[in-house]
Symmetry: C2
């Protein structure tokens, strides 16, 4: 039996457009003699639909469009579509009013619904806000083959693999007891570094343990901060990968289930990426491309400081959108070093993008003049430094507003963590491209990029000079911050591993440095609250999955 | 038996400080011959602690400080403290690793823990992110009286009152079957307009229905966007209010439970507010005061445009912080009308605050000059309008940075909804004071304020002139927006009632106007994502409880 995986890139909320994509893949499936077509979790509305789910008219529209889709499908093809359904008993027995469901469409109608059982409520996930968990093990029969149906998180409770139980029930164990022949999983699993290795290791373990072949269908595409990497795959009952779709792009692959030996046959296996850097690069390029597309922008404007962060963002944008769609703005001040302009110009040349130079000296003087009476007898300090950054931010937004270019902000995760950035200045932008990329990875990405390009992309001097905000003469980042390799290790422990000061000091870091970093991270909370959406590539990004109070004692006192 | 309610205002995360407050109230209780002291939900860490709960060292510290507090308490006093406890079985049977609990402290130690059973996961609440629901009905015996223990949401499932069930279990029904004498509830219930009437109506119904006296203890204070209004109260088993603490300030009241007739006796009942406007005013004053205090600021800076929004914010800030702590900045442009300056100066005079005039004409020219080559042959438009707003935003932040004043932003909810505001311009600020106040309520609040002050506060001309952003000559808001009473009704239906275009049109609004408003609200999502925290006063505020995708089809196409 031929089973197709449609690795789709939906537009959130675009029910008609998403249904059309499913229909196109259904036609392709029919032409390829496919019996069953799989689509990702919530493929009809896209994941995550978030508070759109609170609008009753949206739920009603999903139902109508699903019915219509069922009628339009080709014959002899079963299609599993991710949708939401009403929990009609909620008003009587309590519980949330919706289920996160899969609809089995065949013969012109909806044959059956299956409800997601394990609802994630950690990191960026809020499924309990909308959904009631399903209580039954889900399966159906197709041509004599019993197919177990699971949705994303349903397979993430392998006790033996994790060394602990995450949820009370384990859907795959239930299905195994029921004796299904094959387990399919419809997912919308966001990308993080190393996530695919984790998914495959976990499902290999489950497949071998329960002796169940598994087909895992993932969503692809960027949706605000989240990047879905696709890389859908299939595993036979020995726990071996038999198929893998491509990463970071829509794909359509057909796998073969052999009804005789009740297992999946070997198929096309797209290779893994050669390095984390390559993978992160692909993720960020897709994240930028989709945010622009889905927000109806085609061009971007970026402030180019001559530093490594804006260089990387410009390189990502150029790959995502094409060099004609990237405008770099150089805004030197009297404090800018000579190399900052020449390095930025070299970058512009290497990328082949458009650029403009707008010196900000006159504007700095006008601000000084306007504020002179009020600032009399005060010293040059953070206020003046920030004004430079905000002049640049205002110029960039002026260009964005005038020409309809989206402004990309260029701050990295290390800066965002310790607040080494100016709110309403260099933080300005519609999308923060590398907000979840620690500074040390900014370097490794740039080095990877240069070593995998025929000509130099990031100018050598940008890679080797000391990082500096250049907001006062002779300033370098390391005047006020620990070295980035030390800072990034402390931040990784603090943010991703939830370690305390004591634990981090115990790991070998200097007490005073750790105290300082904790305080900086805490004090910068108000800045991060107003940051643009940042593309998530780690287990814990600032943004949706980082929910910290501001007016609180969180380490700053 | 004397029972005291400590209506506390905690600092989130300040375990030692919060424990100290509990101890002080315990000493006061002992002096007043109180047998049982009640404190709000999570009184040890403050509500909501949010992702602080993900740090194991934070949980450990709570446990240690709770043990210490138990030892420090006066004798013959039982104290109920809101805390979190570990769900030790989670790794074996699954589930979240914490409970939202109450600890009964007495005789120098923790006597017993009770776990919250109903966990809210709607609007601003994410309790399922951290907590596992408790499975048992909670009660304990004190001097022969059986006391049922509930935490906040536990009492919000009165099926008869709501006309539907929200959760599968109903803790008060369970306690009633067990035959307790009194039900206490420790809450952290955020303020919204009319919320207290709802709480009292619901609990009166429950008390009468189950013939159970209820003591309801609420938190007070502003925590970022949330304002907790206090107004703790007691109800006898006839469903009559027997005591009510004050609103919007810490309070300590003692109620008397009569062991003979097993009911609460009549006590001091603080009156309700005379109007919603008075209540909202109190809420916003507290919200500003606490945000400043808890973030260690004492002074604010506000841009005064001569319009009604900044006038209201300045009046709130003056009441919250005192006139010497409010600095108003007037930033006229060549497009400013004469009255904008004179009205703002009149406001400054009425409030007695400090002010400074910083004309922005020179800066506008400098920006024009800097951008002249790039903007050649383009028309004056949104880009130039926004630059004016961003010049003002940059000046205000310069002053904020220079003198350590917190910048308050002044946009109202109607503007925030339709995007009639400039990102990195007038949206700048640490706190958006009236971001959840619709424009029509801005007017009613100002009128209420004037009619309840001995002298005029908001200058008459500000109340009567047509609202205008004054970013181009002769501009008024109603050039591009529907009249505010119409806009606010459409927005209320769209935002708070989740109505569709069709439903709103059916209610009597013009189709084209409704379409336009839906589109504006959708397009402005990217602005709201970067807005400062806004004080919540309605059922659905932008911010924590509004989770919308940006790169999506949500009505904008």
């Amino acid at each position: 039996m031929k089973i197709a995986i449609a690795q789709l890139n939906p537009l959130i909320g675009d029910l008609i457009g998403n249904a059309q994509k499913i229909l196109e893949n259904a036609k392709k499936s029919a032409a390829a003699d496919v019996r069953l077509l799989l689509t990702p979790e919530l493929s009809l509305c896209g994941y995550p639909p978030r508070d759109l789910l609170l609008n009753p008219s949206f739920i009603q529209a999903m139902d109508q469009i699903l019915q219509k889709l069922a009628q339009d499908l080709p014959p002899n093809l079963a299609v599993l579509v991710g949708t939401v359904t009403k929990n009609k008993e909620a008003v009587i027995i309590g519980g949330k009013s919706l289920f996160n469901s899969i609809a089995w469409l065949e013969n012109g109608k909806i044959q059956q619904y299956f409800h997601k059982r394990l609802l994630p409520t950690y990191d960026v996930f809020d499924e309990n806000r909308y959904f009631e968990p399903g209580l039954q093990a889900n399966y159906f029969q197709l041509d004599g083959i019993n197919i177990g149906v699971t949705i994303c998180e349903d397979l993430w409770n392998d006790e033996e693999f994790w060394g602990k139980r995450n949820y009370a029930v384990n859907p795959i164990a239930d299905l195994s007891i029921l004796g299904v022949d094959l387990i399919i999983n419809l997912s919308a699993s966001p990308y993080t570094v190393g996530k695919q290795q984790l998914r495959e290791a976990m499902l290999k373990h489950s497949a071998a343990h329960f002796k169940q072949p598994i087909i895992y269908t993932n969503q692809v595409g960027g949706n605000d901060d989240l990047i879905f990497d696709g890389r859908s795959f299939a595993i036979n009952n020995q726990g071996e990968i038999t198929a893998r779709a491509q990463g970071f792009q829509p794909d359509f692959i057909v796998v073969e289930f052999d009804p005789e030996n009740r297992d999946l046959q070997l198929n096309v296996i797209s290779p893994h990426y050669e390095s984390d850097d390559e993978e992160v690069w692909q993720a960020l390029v897709l994240g930028v491309k989709d945010y622009l597309n889905k927000c109806h922008f085609s061009q971007v404007v970026i402030g180019l400081s001559g530093g490594i962060d804006s260089a990387l963002v410009a390189a990502i944008a150029t790959t995502a959108l094409g060099k004609d769609n990237v405008l770099g703005i150089l805004m030197p001040s009297p404090y800018s070093s000579e190399h900052s302009l020449s390095d930025a110009l070299k970058l512009v040349e290497n990328l082949g993008i458009k650029s403009q130079i707008l010196p900000i000296g006159e504007l700095m003087q006008s601000f000084d003049h306007t504020l002179s009476e009020l600032f009399i007898e005060t010293q040059f300090g953070v206020a003046e430094e920030n004004i430079q950054s905000r002049i640049r931010g205002t110029l960039l937004m002026g260009i964005s507003n005038k020409f309809g270019h989206l402004l990309l902000s260029t701050g990295n995760k290390s800066e965002m963590a310790v607040g080494y950035c100016t709110l309403y200045g260099d933080m300005n932008g519609g999308l923060a491209v590398i907000a979840d990329v620690p500074k040390t990875r900014v370097y490794s990405l740039c080095n990877w990029l240069n070593s995998h390009s025929q000509t130099e992309i990031i100018p050598e001097n940008i890679l080797t000079k000391a990082p500096s905000a250049e907001l006062k003469p002779g300033q370098v980042d390391q005047d006020s911050l620990p070295a980035y390799d030390i800072l990034d290790d402390i931040l990784e422990r603090l943010i991703n591993k939830h370690q305390s000061v004591a634990e981090i000091v115990k790991s070998g870091h200097d007490q005073e440095t750790v105290n300082k970093v904790f305080k900086l991270v805490s004090v910068a909370e108000f800045k991060r609250r107003q940051a643009p959406p940042g593309l998530k590539i780690t287990d814990r990004a600032f943004g949706t999955g980082w929910r910290m109070p501001i007016a609180a004692m969180t380490g700053k006192q």
